[in-house]
Amino acid sequence: MGFGDLRSSSGLKVLNEFLTERSYVEGFVPSQADVAVFDALSAAPPADLCHALRWYNHIKSYSSQKSSFSPRLYHKFPNMQFSSSITSPNIRELRILFMLFQEDEEATRIKEERLAAYAAKKSKTAVIAKSSILLDKMEECVRSIVMDGLVWGQSKLVPVGYGIKKLQINCVVEDDKVGTDILEEQITAFEDLVQSVDVAAFNKI
């Protein structure tokens, strides 16, 4: 998510700035994105950040209806700097639950972190994927993706909770030859096995 650490005053300032012209975090109706940001806040914003405070009070007034907000559309916010410190357990759970209800199949997620390190010649990406059944089959499919400049590394299964495990697989990618977008596309092409893809970590080497 894109606001920085919402527990710090700089993160709150970014949120306030964002909400100056918007009533909600995403679009024009309350959504799970609002719930996610609301939960990430430890307390009500101070009175001098009037827009954040207005939004906070508004979302608070929904109290019980929050679970029925529409699901969030974007995984990242436009024009915002990327920082993963907001990924609190609450947000992940929201997303997982939503996916469970939607499809009862394996879910793969690679979370993409756009760093300025795109200029790097070689970068190592660790891919986190979530899945529940037929993990071997899925791993095979993922490894079958062959591209120039892409080398698959080791993989492991990490339990996520609610009986779901995620497939985390490493790969070394040469930025000039392989872009993470293309890789993501190829992985999600296995529609039956893969629900979504996210990049967990993205390091330069």
Binding site: S23, F28, L53, W55, N57, S61, N79
Partner: protein, 173 residues
């Protein structure tokens, strides 16, 4: 003008049969001739009647306090906005801006008829504002953009483009 607003309101409320309106007086006050009883005169009167007819009473406010606030803003529309002159426009916008600083909707946290009627009323004012002025009345702009994106509200009025990236921020980055 008022008649177009009322027919837009009918569309938003989903009323099947459009009513026939007439006007009276120089100010073109809308009149709805009811079959059952005496004619309803006045934008606010007719609007409230339409809302009740469509069984969307929550649009008039859910608590006693919010009902009072809705009525207050409906009256504001008729007395200040329609009756006011060009010079009053700035005062009106300033008042709205201060009021909307801590509220998402006019009645607080709920979308009501007051938002719709005031949206219709302020549309012509907002359209005439320059970009700089729109940033001056940021809260009004925000509220206006929000209301015009609500499904079904904007029928006869063109959408007003609200700049997302502010030009005049007053801060140096």
């Amino acid at each position: 003008m008022a008649i177009r607003e009322l027919s837009s309101l009918e569309k938003y409320l989903g009323l099947k049969k459009p009513n026939k309106y007439t006007t009276q007086g120089d100010r073109k006050v809308p009149v709805l001739q009811n079959n059952n009883g005496p004619p309803l005169v006045g934008l606010v009167t007719v609007a409230c009647h339409l809302v009740k007819e469509s069984k969307r009473a929550e649009l008039l406010g859910s608590s006693a306090e919010s009902r009072a606030v809705v009525q207050q803003w409906l009256e504001y529309r008729v007395t200040k906005l329609d009756g006011g002159s060009k010079e009053d426009v700035r005062t009106i916008l300033k008042e709205l801006n201060t009021y909307l600083e801590d509220k998402v909707y006019l009645a607080g946290n709920q979308f009501t008829l007051a938002d719709i009627i005031l949206y219709y009323g302020t549309h012509s004012l907002i359209v005439d504002l320059s970009v700089q002025e729109r940033e001056q009345f940021l809260n009004v702009t925000r509220w206006f953009d929000h209301i015009q994106h609500m499904p079904g509200v904007r029928h006869h009025l063109p959408p007003v483009a609200v700049l997302r990236n502010r030009i005049y921020t007053g801060r140096h980055h």
